[in-house]
């Protein structure tokens, strides 16, 4: 099957692109594992413009319903692109994890980013055994337990606040000397010193445990001292890595792995490939921005398809 456009990803960017592409009558396929993007697991989203308050789950439902209501767009949900190859001189061939093959003239990546891992000994072995990457999902399982959150940005601070409802004690480990997240959330933590202890200028060195997590080792970067902490849960919230590997052979990426795009058109360095949202080198990773950038991409793709027809 040959498409004019294949969109990879079903977050706000991918859905916006799908809606615009369908309305431009571009022959489009959207491939996504799930709809909703990274906000799927948010309890409440208060900055999705036009909607004062919505859960990540409901936002995902709305996004899915909007793109499914469009005529003429094909959707493969529950699958992911596994491989991108050159199909002929100007197109691309996508092979999915389920083994399907599709050809396309233009490719748009709205694949977002994923949780970054610590990369320390014990982390991989104890993933799901106390090492947690979805605080919202798994915080309730740590009722009455001592836990650590690694990372002093917004997602780290939100994990600490989520855990206040369940955990006995929360240690927040941060590599800098001041927290980075929103002031409102920071104050909630600073005003609860009985339940939360903040450790500044520290780096996690090892996660310990056999069957389950029993603790971690960290280094105080100021004194050089190495200490241990007995905890049963470790919530890793140290930012994200872009899901850009699939086009690594084609496009220019920056040192973080983000796809470098022209901000006016969202074109990558490789003709025929566009990208929008968190997978790109855009400064601000936001749902609303991903939507706008994806729309720009589709409008530019529309011009490209018409020009290359002529």
């Amino acid at each position: 099957m040959t498409y004019d456009l294949i969109i990879l990803g079903g977050g706000p960017g991918g859905v916006a692109a799908g809606v615009y592409a369908a309305r431009k009558k571009i022959k489009t396929l959207l491939i996504t594992d799930v709809f909703g993007g990274q906000s799927l697991v948010s309890d409440d989203i208060q900055n999705w413009i036009g909607t004062p308050l919505i859960s990540g789950f409901d936002l995902a439902k709305n996004l899915e319903a909007h793109v499914r209501s469009q005529e003429g767009i094909d959707i493969r949900e529950g699958d992911l692109a596994a491989r991108v190859e050159r199909a002929n001189e100007s197109g691309f061939r996508i092979q999915t994890q389920q083994g399907e093959i599709f050809d396309t003239r233009a490719l748009l990546l709205t694949t977002g980013s994923r949780h970054r891992k610590l990369g320390v000994p014990g982390e991989k072995e104890l993933e799901g055994k106390g090492v947690v990457y979805c605080a919202t999902c798994d915080a309730p399982l740590f009722k009455g337990k001592r836990v650590a959150v690694v990372g002093g940005g917004n997602s780290g601070l939100e994990a600490v606040v989520d855990l206040f409802s369940y955990a006995l004690k929360v240690y927040l480990l941060h590599r800098r000397d001041s927290l980075k997240g929103d002031a409102v959330t920071r104050e909630k933590i600073e005003n609860n010193p009985d339940q939360a202890t903040i450790l500044y200028n520290v780096g996690v060195q090892e996660i310990r445990g056999d069957k389950w997590v029993t603790g971690l080792t960290y280094k105080d970067n100021k004194t050089g001292e190495v200490r241990t902490l007995d905890v049963e849960g470790i919530f890793v919230e140290i930012g994200s890595s872009p899901n850009s590997e699939i086009v690594a052979d084609f496009v220019d990426r920056n040192k973080y792995g983000e796809i470098v795009v022209d901000p006016k058109t969202q074109r990558s360095s490789f003709s025929g490939i566009w990208a929008a949202g968190d997978v790109t080198d855009c400064f601000y990773k936001q749902n609303n921005i991903s939507v706008g950038d994806a729309v720009k991409a589709v409008l530019n793709i529309n011009t490209f398809l018409h020009n290359s027809n002529a």
Binding site: V34, V41, E77, G78, D79, E127, G128, C137, P140, L141
Partner: protein
């Protein structure tokens, strides 16, 4: 009808917490395909929590039990295959 038959042959249990979004997605998937399932909240039910830990050797949700197979997380394609739905 066919799906319901398969479901009763493969007793399906879904281990959840109240805040687990992927559990909600799994539930919608089961309902859409008329798969009957038992939902167990491992936040509220401590015995069920131990049962889930020992069966799945990990503590993340969702855990889905189909017959005597255990699946950690919700992967639509894998679960569909286990339930023989397309």
């Amino acid at each position: 009808m066919v799906n319901q038959k398969i479901a009763s042959d493969n007793r399906v249990t879904l281990y959840t917490t109240p805040t687990c979004v992927y559990c909600k997605i799994a539930k919608e998937f089961f309902r859409k395909h008329n798969i009957s399932f038992r939902e167990v909240d491992v936040f509220a039910d401590l015995d069920a929590r131990e049962e889930m830990f020992s069966k799945s050797h990990q503590m993340g949700v969702p855990v889905i039990e189909i017959g005597d197979e255990i699946f950690v997380g919700f992967d639509r394609a894998i679960v569909a295959r286990a339930l023989r739905i397309s």
